[in-house]
């Protein structure tokens, strides 16, 4: 008799398979009250295990959680909502994963704002979802200027850094300091190409010359940059501009040292560097390298205090991405508090044009025209090991680049806010 049940069981199994593991409920989406779903949900989408997990990753989630805790402690019973959640998703640096995750966070997990999102392609995908769902997105770790240019939208804000700011900071200052001839190596994808263009423009505007440029395949799975590096001396540059990021940068710098390019009179300038990169290479490998930093933990007492709290939670020192995540989350929550609601349009209205000074945003301002968050940035130089007094004490701040000079001026922006 039992065998007769097979068709029944199999039919039921199929139906339940379809239904059961779905998890989230379906049906059309609904609206909300003052605080939607009676809670504020902050989502972090970033690389949890891959090449960018050190510079933002799990510690960025902790930074956002710190902001939530500090916000609760500060406002106590007056807080606009006591129910504040932090959720996280791993996008594995893939735009299509980021796209799906962002949609899910906004729809299914009721996120009110998404933070971080390294990798420009992934950030552009999340910005698209933010515009479609009319929910907020604070980009911190992606570099593309498109987020505040062609692809800008009402619900997306760009924190910390971008390719223009890096090129403008490093390219201009290093050229003006005397290194006129540049040889640029860059990874052959959107970020690398953007960086190469921005740097070439900045160098030439400062009176320098790009004597050679060479792209490397992306991702460079072999980790071999010898063909790019060995061709450099022939062009007789003063400085080698490396536009790679994360693990690729680490490999490239190692090979730059192996080929003794420094002794051949070729200095090293790096487009984008995080303090976590210096930490994994060791300061000696990079000593003397100049780069633009959006924030440095040991810059002054205020930064140090926050960095100490961060170290208590995570056991390491923060990169600017970590600090940026904290600041963005905090300022978002403050805007919700001020607006009295987490309704996106009201929060955006509160944020636009706001001038902010916190440990991360010095002379900070959220530009209403393109949602670029501007602030002072720093030209930094890597210390030789002999001057390093403690772990992560790797940078010497050469100059502070004031907020209004550091970023692309509004007049040059291609953003049309819809």
């Amino acid at each position: 008799m039992r065998r007769n049940l097979i068709p029944a069981i199999s039919t039921l199994a199929v139906v339940s398979l379809l239904a059961a593991c779905g998890g989230g409920a379906g049906g059309p989406s609904g609206g909300g009250g003052k605080i939607s779903d009676d809670k504020i949900v902050l989502g972090v989408i970033n690389d949890q295990t891959g090449i960018y997990s050190e510079l933002s990753g799990p510690n960025a989630v902790k930074a956002v959680q710190m902001a939530v805790d500090d916000f609760k402690a500060k406002h106590g019973d007056d807080a606009v909502s006591k129910n504040i959640e932090v959720i996280v998703a791993d996008h594995q640096n893939k735009p299509e994963v980021a796209n799906t995750k962002a949609q899910e966070m906004y729809d299914r997990q009721k996120a009110d704002a998404i933070f971080d999102v390294p990798t420009s392609s992934a950030a552009l995908a999340v910005a698209g979802q933010a515009a479609a769902k009319k929910k907020l997105y604070f980009n911190i770790t992606a570099a593309t200027t498109a987020l505040t240019g062609d692809k800008c939208n009402k619900y997306t804000f760009h924190y910390a850094y971008d390719t223009y700011m890096l090129a403008n900071g490093t390219g201009t200052t290093v050229t003006e300091a005397g290194a006129k001839n540049w040889y640029i190596v860059y990874p052959d994808y959107a970020f690398g190409q953007d960086m190469e263009k921005s740097f070439s423009t900045a160098v030439e505007q400062a009176g320098g010359k790009v004597v050679g440029k060479k792209s490397s395949e992306f991702p460079n799975t072999s980790g071999d940059f010898s063909s790019q590096l060995l061709q450099a001396p022939a062009a007789k540059p003063d400085v080698l501009g490396a536009m790679h990021a994360g693990g690729e940068l680490v490999n490239l710098v190692k090979q730059y040292n192996q080929f003794n390019l420094k002794d051949k009179g070729i200095g090293l300038s790096v487009g984008l560097m995080f303090i976590t990169d210096i930490h994994s290479l060791g300061p000696d490998a990079l000593a003397g390298t100049k780069f633009t930093d959006a924030w440095y933990w040991n810059f002054d007492q205020q930064n140090r205090e926050w960095a100490d709290k961060f170290k208590e939670k995570t056991g390491s020192r923060p990169s600017f991405a970590h600090a940026g995540n904290y600041s963005a989350a905090m300022n978002y929550l403050e805007a919700v508090q001020a607006a009295g609601t987490d309704a996106s349009d009201d929060v955006v209205k509160n944020l636009e044009g706001k001038e902010i000074n916190d440990f991360f945003l010095r002379n900070g301002k959220i530009r209403a025209e393109d949602h670029r968050v501007i602030h002072d940035v720093y030209l930094a130089e890597v210390k030789p090991k002999s001057e390093v007094k403690e772990d992560y004490d790797y940078e010497k701040i050469v100059t502070t680049i004031p907020a209004d000079k550091a970023f692309k001026p509004v007049s040059e922006s291609t953003c049309k806010m819809g």
Binding site: P7, C21, G26, E96, V97, Q103, S121, A132, Y189
Partner: protein
């Protein structure tokens, strides 16, 4: 009581089929109420894709390992049409299917000269070529940024809520499934099965075997294109992942998991894989200190388990049990079969990582 009903049903193949079709339709209509609507749309798109592959793998005995080329190029085409012209999305999706079919013609003409693993390798090689073109042709595809912000136009209707988009997209997928069903149950489909079973005898009977293979390949590519276009519009996004070889692998896994040569099985395989991947990507599984976040490992294990225990796949096994009760010999191929050289290569295909 239910057992009795089912025994009677099993004895009436037509009625049983009608019940299955109605049940399938009911599930399809109810799906966005039961699960997260974008995932429901994913299941429908992948189901159509898997059915399209099954036309080749299950009914013609050809393992294509390059179907991502058609799915992906269709995704880009649908995106480009929708963005550039603002055409209603069904037009964009149909245009995408046409482009996939056009792309399939030269690939099919060259690929059908080989069978078995060589056929799979040739299709893989072409798919990788499409991948590199898509990666380099940034002006059209956006490179690794992908095509973003594909609109969901339909004569001024607001389809931004995925729940409503599901019902707008479902008919397109159903038309695709109907075409597949029609192909299988036509004289053309019978010839395909004959080719699968014995190409030499088919040729000696006067059937132009290669031309049949090219035709079914192009039809399969067109259906894959329909699915890929729908998927891209549903996500509002077309990326390099769509043309990457792991996409080809994923659809092969779905088809084999559900049971090749059964159409229904492909749909079940798609539903299972999409659901499992979604579940794993949202929650992850903690086994002791190890946190498995990527879906690759678990999907791989399920695949290995099914191939080892139910060699006919999920639906294939069910159908086989039903048939055995009615003492009808198996009509569809299975993995242990000797008549399907391409399918024999199946376990050698690495699961999506």
């Amino acid at each position: 009581m239910t057992a009795l009903v089912f025994r009677k049903l099993a004895a009436m193949p037509r009625l049983w089929r009608l019940v299955a079709v109605l049940g399938g339709l009911l599930i399809a209509l109810a799906l966005p109420w039961l699960i997260y609507p974008p995932i429901a749309m994913d299941i429908v798109a992948w189901a159509l894709f898997a059915v399209a592959l099954d036309l080749l793998l299950g009914f013609t005995g050809l393992l294509s390992f390059g179907h991502a080329a058609f799915w992906g190029s269709a995704a880009y085409t649908a995106g480009t049409i929708a963005i550039e012209t603002g055409a209603p999305f069904p037009v964009a999706v149909l245009g995408a299917a046409v482009v996939a079919m056009v792309l399939a013609v030269p690939i099919a003409l060259l690929a059908v000269r080989r069978t078995g693993i060589y056929f799979a390798m040739v299709t893989l090689a072409f798919a990788q070529m499409v991948y590199y073109v898509a990666n380099q042709w940034r002006g059209l595809t956006g490179g690794e940024n992908g095509l973003q912000g594909i609109p969901k136009n339909l004569f001024g209707l607001d389809l931004s809520d995925p729940f409503y988009f599901y019902y707008a997209g479902l008919p397109i997928a159903l038309i695709g499934l109907l075409i597949a069903w029609r192909v299988v149950h036509s004289p053309f489909g019978r010839v395909l099965v004959a080719i699968r079973e014995n190409p030499a005898r088919s040729r000696s009977l006067g059937y132009p075997v290669d031309r049949y293979k090219v035709m079914v390949f192009v039809i399969s590519a067109g259906l894959s294109g329909l699915a890929g276009g729908l998927y891209a519009v549903s996500h509002g996004f077309a990326s390099l992942q769509e043309v990457y070889w792991t996409t080809s692998g994923k659809v092969v896994i779905m088809t084999v998991l559900g049971g090749i040569g059964t159409l229904w099985g492909s749909m079940i395989g798609a539903a299972v894989i999409v659901q499992v991947e979604d579940y794993l990507a949202t929650s992850g599984i903690h086994i002791g200190p190890v946190n498995i976040t990527g879906p690759g490992l678990i999907t791989g294990l399920i695949f290995v388990g099914v191939v080892l225990l139910f060699r006919r796949g999920v639906w294939g096994t069910v159908a086989h049990l039903l048939r055995r009760r009615r003492h009808v010999p198996d009509a569809e191929p299975h993995l242990s079969g000797t008549t399907v050289p391409a399918a024999e290569q199946e376990p050698a295909v690495a699961p999506k990582s």
